[in-house]
């Protein structure tokens, strides 16, 4: 009898453990709304509970290669930047959206009012709320500057020259140190935040995009889809976008060293931005596919397994009969902002 009881208990424990492991790799139940900026000039709005899709139109479409990147004209036919959104910071109920032509627009989620806040930089990648909550930091792909934008005065407060083509910014917990990712140099620069001077760099070695700090401030995650190969002569395009390794690079904040490279090449995902859930257990990853869709993937922050992939372009475009005319026909998304705990009304 005792033996039987022991076997049943053992089986129950095994079953529970299996269930826990299985549950860990199941899609989590999330509550919130994600806003993902795209070259089409609108934000994809995703209900994280139902995965329903909507959109907010901010501006007209524009490709990333139009105008200047890191001082270079990659698209000789389009000397001036077009429209297109690339990142948005959510402050209260206002989305402060950075555009590919360096303008900033504010969209109020309650009143649906869109306000043009004017020319701030040249070509924005990331739009990240600063540590004090008073400013948003826009990273510029054209000139390598980080623009400090004051929310109250709604104008730029500082411009910090960092690299050649910067995309993301993140801070240590004490706010004394900042990390800024430079796409074309494949480096994350470390800045003393008081003096705004560069004090070091972490070499990633691939073509990188956004960086995000996990909620515990122990890991800095960097998207490295590697559309270009970083060489001594500068970025050289891969023969086909994504031919190289597409990765999420994880950096140990304390040692400032790479601790992991999560390869998502086989998933045909080219991650551009990330958003951690407030508990730090899950990561939403906005990914390009360079095909007919862009994807929002849900990754387990511990096991680094992708547990869910949701179409955030094709679903709408197909229904509306939209044909993409820029970026070789691929809908390209980038920056993500999440309103945790609030689903769209």
């Amino acid at each position: 009898m005792k033996k039987m009881m022991f076997c049943i208990a053992l089986a129950a424990v095994a079953l529970m453990a299996t269930a826990m492991i299985a549950a860990a790799d199941d899609a989590p139940l999330l509550k919130g709304t994600a806003y993902v900026a795209g070259h089409g000039g609108h934000l994809a709005v995703i209900n994280l509970s139902t995965w329903d899709l909507d959109r907010i139109v901010i501006t007209h479409a524009g490709s990333e290669t139009e105008g200047v990147i890191a001082g270079l004209h990659l698209d000789a036919a389009h000397k001036k930047p077009g429209g297109g959104t690339h990142g948005a910071a959510l402050i209260g109920r206002d989305l402060f959206v950075g555009l590919l032509d360096g303008r900033v627009k504010k969209y109020n989620l309650d009143t649906q009012k869109l306000t043009d806040l004017g020319q701030v930089g040249e070509k924005f990648c990331g739009a990240i709320p600063g540590p004090g909550g008073k400013d948003i930091y826009y990273e510029d792909m054209a000139n390598g500057n980080v623009y400090q934008f004051n929310i109250k005065k709604e104008k730029k407060a500082d411009v910090i020259p960092v690299g050649k083509s910067v995309c993301g910014i993140a801070w240590t917990k004490d706010g004394k140190t900042a990390f800024v990712s430079d796409m074309v140099q494949g480096k994350i620069f470390i800045l003393d935040w008081k003096t705004k001077k560069k004090i070091g760099a972490i070499k990633i070695g691939t073509f990188i995009h956004q960086i995000r700090m996990n909620p515990a401030h122990t890991e800095l995650w960097c998207t490295a889809p590697n559309e270009f190969v970083v060489t001594a002569k500068g970025p050289q395009p891969s023969s086909v976008a994504g031919k190289g390794k597409s990765q999420i690079v994880i950096i140990d904040v304390k040692n400032r060293k790479i601790k992991d490279r999560v390869d998502v090449t086989d998933d045909q995902l080219f991650p551009h931005d990330l958003a951690f859930t407030p508990d730090g257990k899950w990561v939403l990853v906005s990914c390009r596919t360079y095909s007919d869709d862009s994807i929002l993937a849900v990754m387990n922050a511990k096991t680094h397994k992708i547990v869910k992939e949701v179409s955030i372009c094709k679903r709408c475009h197909q229904e509306a009969g939209v044909k993409i005319k820029i970026d070789n026909g691929s809908p390209l998304l980038c920056g993500i902002a999440v309103d945790w705990g609030k689903n769209p009304e």
């Binding site: 004051n150 005065k153 104008k155 730029k156 407060a157 500082d158 411009v159 910090i160 020259p161």
Partner: protein, 401 residues
């Protein structure tokens, strides 16, 4: 018997076909003229900007936000403009991170109604105690202390040292004139002290036909020098953010605006010049091939009379060099006349400052353009000349008949 020299033969050949000669000379003149005039204009504007920016001495200019475009226009095209902001802006600017020095200036346009003064001059009042923009020039005037009755005149102001100038009923002693910068903002201005400017304005109601409406609690601009380790662009952003109602402009941004305008013009001229150059090269090549073909009998006879292969080669090259160097000289002369004649129109249409380059540079440009033209001719004639040199006398005479 008179010996037939190389140059003598070449000149005679050139004279034989006048229309062909003129066509080649004119096409080469078009190339060298375009090259010379485009380069001359670019160098002149660049020099003017460099001299003007050096004279300005400020990294950042702070102006009223609503008058930003007026200020930019004034800097580039030198249109005298008046705009004012509260003088407390100066203290606020000094508090901004990255500002090393800040000094105020006030602008007053001289009256167009003035009977005994100079009209349409920008009077710039500066503060000698904090100034770093105007006072460095005072060393040019034997270190003389600048007082409230003194004035320094820009190059375009019709006066000279030792004379007096009268503005709004106030008389000033001209203690010096500035060397030409090409920027009308400086050349068409006269500098007085801030106190003198306010005093003149206060008394203008009784002493002049027109009253100047500026009070001591108003200034037009604040000139800023930035600390080491800060870029002017960064400090400009910080000032625009921290001080309400103003716009800070990095002077290098104004310069880059002009450079952008210029680079478009330069690219256009270079494209046109490049097309004309290729056409001229082809034209000369074709014409000299025809010449060789036409003169086969003559070449054969010369060879039979003892002319060497080298002589025949040099003969054609000399002809080409003579024609194209003549074209080069004509082109630079024409280009120079065009630029000199239309300089004022160019400055007005492009809104750019203009200062002729140094004589040394102009001579170097002249020589360079003529050399390029001559090399073009020689390069185009190389192949036909080598064919003419390789011709056997008998074969050439027979084919030429």
């Amino acid at each position: 018997m008179k010996k037939l020299g190389l140059n003598h033969l070449a000149v005679r050949n050139i004279r034989r076909k006048l229309f062909r000669t003129v066509s080649i000379v004119l096409s080469v003149a078009a190339v060298s003229g375009t090259l010379f005039s485009a380069t001359l204009v670019i160098y002149s504007v660049r020099r003017s900007i460099a001299v003007g920016a050096g004279r300005l001495g400020a990294d950042v200019l702070v102006v009223p936000a609503q008058d930003e475009s007026k200020a930019r226009d004034a800097l580039i095209s030198g249109q005298p403009s008046e705009y004012y902001m509260p003088s407390k802006v100066l203290d606020e600017v000094r508090q901004v991170e990255g500002v090393e020095k800040a000094t105020p200036q006030v602008f007053i346009k001289s009256s167009p109604l003035s009977c005994c003064g100079v009209s349409n001059v920008l009077l710039i009042g500066f503060d000698p105690s904090t100034d770093f923009s105007v006072t460095p020039w005072l060393t040019d005037f034997s270190g003389k202390n600048f007082n409230n009755n003194d004035i320094i005149a820009g190059d375009e102001v019709p006066t000279m040292t030792g004379r007096t100038l009268k503005f709004y009923g106030q008389e000033f002693n001209v203690v010096g004139t500035l060397a030409r910068t090409g920027m009308r903002y400086l050349d068409n201005s006269a500098f007085i002290t801030l106190n003198a400017a306010y005093k003149m304005a206060a008394q203008s109601g009784t002493k002049a036909l027109k009253k100047v409406n500026v009070t001591p609690d108003e200034i037009s601009t604040v000139l800023v020098k930035v600390k080491d380790g800060y870029t002017p662009q960064r400090v400009a952003v910080k000032i625009s953010f921290a001080v309400d109602g103003v716009k800070a402009i990095a002077s290098s941004d104004v310069i880059s605006t002009v450079k952008d305008q210029l680079s478009k013009l330069f690219a256009y001229l270079l494209t046109v010049g490049g097309i004309v150059w290729v056409m001229a090269l082809l034209l000369i090549g074709v014409v000299f091939s025809m010449i060789v073909n036409e003169r086969q009998r003559e070449i054969g006879l010369l060879r039979a009379m003892g002319a060497t292969k080298g002589f025949m080669f040099r003969l054609l090259i000399t002809e080409a060099a003579m024609l194209t160097s003549a074209g080069g000289i004509l082109g630079v002369a024409g280009g120079g006349i065009v630029v000199y004649s239309f300089k004022n129109l160019l400055v007005k249409e492009l809104s750019v400052p203009y200062l002729w380059p140094s004589p040394g540079l102009i001579i170097a440009l002249l020589v360079g353009c003529i050399v390029v033209s001559t090399i073009t001719g020689i390069a185009a004639a190389l192949y036909p000349a080598s064919i003419s040199a390789r011709m056997e006398p008998y074969e050439a005479i027979r084919k030429g008949e």
